[in-house]
């Protein structure tokens, strides 16, 4: 990420960086592996106090950007989450906070935003999967399933994308409401948790709609935000895996020489460096385009998600190969980054999905 611009952003990052180092070092990340929630309430509350949930929320609602560039601020935070493979429902909560801040009614804002800002509540965006909404008097009835939903089993409130009268809409719903079943899923990531959310005749009032009868533009923006965040986070995690590997290349001796002296390995490190620098460049370009509302934002975001998904997954496997057997052990830290990188790769569109999106855009230029 190159989009750090202001001293305020630097200060914000330093505070979060220090906090993550102290409160959530890698042994703590490991300890949370078997934990069904994947983070502690106290940790999330402290994170919220540092501003983790406020960046994409409007100032008049108690949020606010640090640099004046909300997307850039948020990506700077996501970048740190990648570096530290940090726990907590960062993306899930911020996607919903942004949606309610931008398109929610006064009542929805009053209901949802304060809890998220304070770190007392958690939200989840249920996007992947088909749900239909039907009108029944003043109510909407939801039918279908969403999976995987990040933080679905931890969330106090769900924002669900659905089809209503042929249009894309979003609906706020309490996950404990009748007709909603939340099932925790297994997850590859050490601390990020996912759930399946099923709707069988779940009823909400029509006032639960966020962004009206056609929310397709908003949903698209949230998708772009999510995909950009994942590109940024995976790049940051891959940077650490690569740095660990470079250290190893110099320290590890084989046949009387450091691994770093073998041309066959040097050339592979050069390729990894290329993939990494390109991932930094693309995720930065995607974030800038999204921030600016540029016409080519969708293309850049899909290019970033497709590229980071494809190449960083290869990069981390190559890092493991360079380490030899130790790289496959639970004891070594490489898998913590590997897990985060592939979790980011597979959700919100795998590389192949984003290549299809790019082709569709290209078809009409």
């Amino acid at each position: 990420m190159d989009i750090l611009v202001t001293e305020d952003q630097e200060f914000f990052r330093e505070a979060t960086g220090k906090f993550l180092e102290q409160e959530c070092p890698l042994p703590q990340v490991r300890a949370l592996y078997g934990d069904p929630t994947g983070f502690t309430a106290a940790y999330w509350k402290q994170g919220a106090e540092l501003g983790w949930t406020s960046l994409l929320v409007a100032e008049e609602l108690g949020g606010g950007t640090i640099s004046g560039s909300a997307v850039a601020d948020f990506m700077a935070l996501v970048d740190l989450f990648g570096t530290h493979v940090a726990p907590g429902p960062l993306l899930a909560t911020n996607l919903v906070a942004a949606a309610i801040s931008r398109w929610g009614s006064d009542a929805q804002q009053a209901d949802v935003i304060p809890g998220l800002l304070a770190g007392d509540t958690v939200a989840a965006w249920a996007e992947a999967g088909e749900v239909t909404a039907e009108r029944a008097g003043d109510d909407l009835v939801l039918q279908g399933a969403k999976t995987p939903v990040e933080a679905g089993a931890q969330a106090d409130v769900l924002l669900v994308t659905a089809t209503l009268d042929g249009a894309a809409v979003q609906v706020l719903i309490d996950p404990t409401a009748a007709g909603v079943t939340v099932t925790a899923l297994q997850s590859i990531d050490m601390t990020r948790r996912f759930a399946k959310v099923e709707f069988e005749g779940a009823r909400v009032p029509a006032s639960a709609l966020v962004g009206g009868d056609d929310a397709s533009e908003g949903i698209e923006w949230l998708r772009l935000l999510a995909a950009t965040a994942q590109s940024v986070e995976a790049t940051a995690a891959a940077q650490v895996a690569f740095d660990l590997t470079m250290e190893w290349m110099f320290d590890r001796y084989s046949f009387g020489r450091p691994l770093a002296s073998y041309q066959a390995l040097k050339h592979r490190c050069a390729d990894m460096k290329l993939w990494l620098e390109t991932s930094h460049g693309l995720s930065t370009s995607a974030a800038r385009a999204l921030e600016a509302g540029a016409a080519d934002a969708a293309e850049l975001v899909s290019a970033a998600k497709a590229f980071t998904g494809q190449y960083l997954a290869e990069l981390v496997q190559d890092c493991i190969q360079m380490h030899g057997g130790i790289g496959l052990t639970w004891e070594h830290d490489l898998h913590l980054y590997q897990r985060r990188i592939v979790t980011d790769r597979q959700t919100y569109g795998a590389p192949g999905d984003h290549r299809q999106r790019l082709a569709a855009i290209r078809e009409v230029v």
Binding site: D2, M246, M249, F250, P258, A260, S261, Q263, K266, H267, C269, A270, D271, K273, L274, E277, T278, H280, G281, L282, T284, S285, E299, L300, S302, A303, A304, A306, F307, G352, H354, R355, Q356, R357, L358, A359, A360, I361, R362, E363, V364, V365
Partner: protein, 418 residues
């Protein structure tokens, strides 16, 4: 009062619209070029010289070249703004690499005032096309192993040897030549750089035919070519200092990040009303609805944007000093990876028509595939780029070289004779 980038962009956009012809269609371009006779080829070069002259007359030539030598002396952002607005229009692409960069850029770094005052404005006017006399038949990547010799004779130097892979040299006016001036010191310490007029007595030129039918590359034989000492660039025996910058400029140009290159940066040109090149190919092949083909089209676009984003990151980083110049090897490598993959994808989409069809874009994809490795060889091979990235960027140990302190005269240049 300095004009802002935005003001410049607006002025350039209006000028480009009024002054430059729009880009032509891509149908059968390779075929067309291959069938050109010499007269048509010369006319094509003249067309590019005229386009350069148009830029000069319009006040848009040499945007990042110093004003003292006829340029505009502006920052890279202005050049990028110009490139953006020139997209879709004809620009003098034949005069960019190697004339503007690396040749022009190397002159700016090392040439004496007389050379600069005489030649940089001539280059910017489109009057002079320059060549690199760098590679030799004895070795491509080992540039510092040059065998072409320059011997001093009073105020002149006498050059003998051969240079190769000079693209477009048949139409060129000058060459920048790396020659050996001292055989009794280690390889890198006995080189000197000279300006060689292409039409000097003793310069003999042969065109090389490539597998795609192109005859752009040339080989020159230098026999007792006399060059005045005033055409020396840099100090005697210090040619590797010049050569190092030379290769930086070359890598930077290959990676698309040189401020001295004007015009279109990327190859996947959208032709008005014909759209994206790969979509066109798929449509012609009747495969536009095939998900696998669409996956490949998506990949080409991903690569375009990846190259562009990398170039932006690296050029911004190098300009601000945040990244060292050695990063140019990374963009150079990306350029090759991108070009090689896209050539394969075009070939894949084109299907059987790539190897057997009437003239057209699909057959061009087949012919282009034959020279797919060109972008991974010319301008420094990808193997050299990977060496440079691992050694100069990542700081990994240099390859073992037993000859670093041996006089070049004593370094083996072939298998031991029986």
């Amino acid at each position: 009062m300095t004009e802002s980038v935005e003001e410049f962009r607006a002025r350039a956009a209006a000028w480009v619209r009024d002054s430059l012809p729009p880009q032509e269609g891509g149908q059968g371009m390779i075929e067309r070029r291959r069938k050109m006779n010499e007269e048509e080829e010369l006319a094509e070069v003249q067309r590019h010289r005229d386009l350069q002259r148009t830029l000069w007359d319009g006040g848009f030539a040499g945007i990042c070249f110093p004003a003292a030598y006829g340029g505009l002396g502006l920052a890279y952002e202005y050049q990028l703004a110009f490139n953006e607005v020139a997209d879709g229009y004809q620009t003098p692409s034949l005069l960019q690499v190697p004339t503007m960069v690396p040749c022009g850029a190397v002159l700016l770094d090392f040439a004496n005032e007389d050379i600069l005052k005489r030649h940089i404005p001539a280059i910017l006017r489109g009057d002079e096309i320059w060549m690199q006399f760098l590679s030799e038949p004895s070795g491509g990547s080992d540039v510092a192993g040059a065998l072409t010799t320059a011997v001093r004779d009073g105020d002149e130097w006498v050059l003998n040897g051969s240079k190769i892979w000079t693209s477009g040299a048949w139409a060129a006016d000058y060459g920048l030549c790396l020659a050996r001036t001292n055989w009794d010191v280690p390889k890198h310490r006995g080189l000197t750089v000279f300006v060689v007029p292409m039409h000097a007595e003793g310069v003999e030129l042969h065109r090389i035919e490539m597998t795609d039918g192109s005859r752009e590359f040339c080989q020159e034989f230098l026999t007792d070519v006399r060059i005045p000492d005033t055409y020396r660039v840099g100090e005697v025996d210090d040619g590797w200092t010049v050569g190092t910058r030379w290769m930086f400029h070359e890598r930077n140009a290959m990676g698309g990040g040189s401020p001295y290159v004007s015009g279109q940066r990327y190859s996947n040109v959208v032709i008005p009303e014909e759209g994206d090149k790969f979509v066109r190919l798929a449509r012609q092949a009747g495969r536009l609805d095939d998900p696998r083909t669409r996956d490949l089209i998506g990949e080409t676009r991903m690569l375009d944007l990846a190259s562009e984003a990398l170039t932006t990151r690296v050029s911004e980083g190098m300009l601000s000093g945040r990244l060292p110049d050695t990063y140019a090897s990374i963009t150079r490598l990306m350029h090759a990876v991108d070009a090689v993959r896209k050539a394969s994808i075009a070939f894949e989409i084109a299907g059987a028509a790539a190897v057997a069809s009437e003239p057209g874009e699909r057959f061009d994809a087949g012919v282009s595939w034959l020279v797919r490795q060109q972008g991974a060889i010319g301008g420094g091979t990808t193997e050299m780029a990977r060496n440079n990235i691992s050694e100069r960027v990542l700081g990994m140990p240099r390859e073992y070289n037993p000859f670093s302190n041996v006089p070049f005269r004593d370094v083996p240049k072939g298998p031991p004779s029986a």
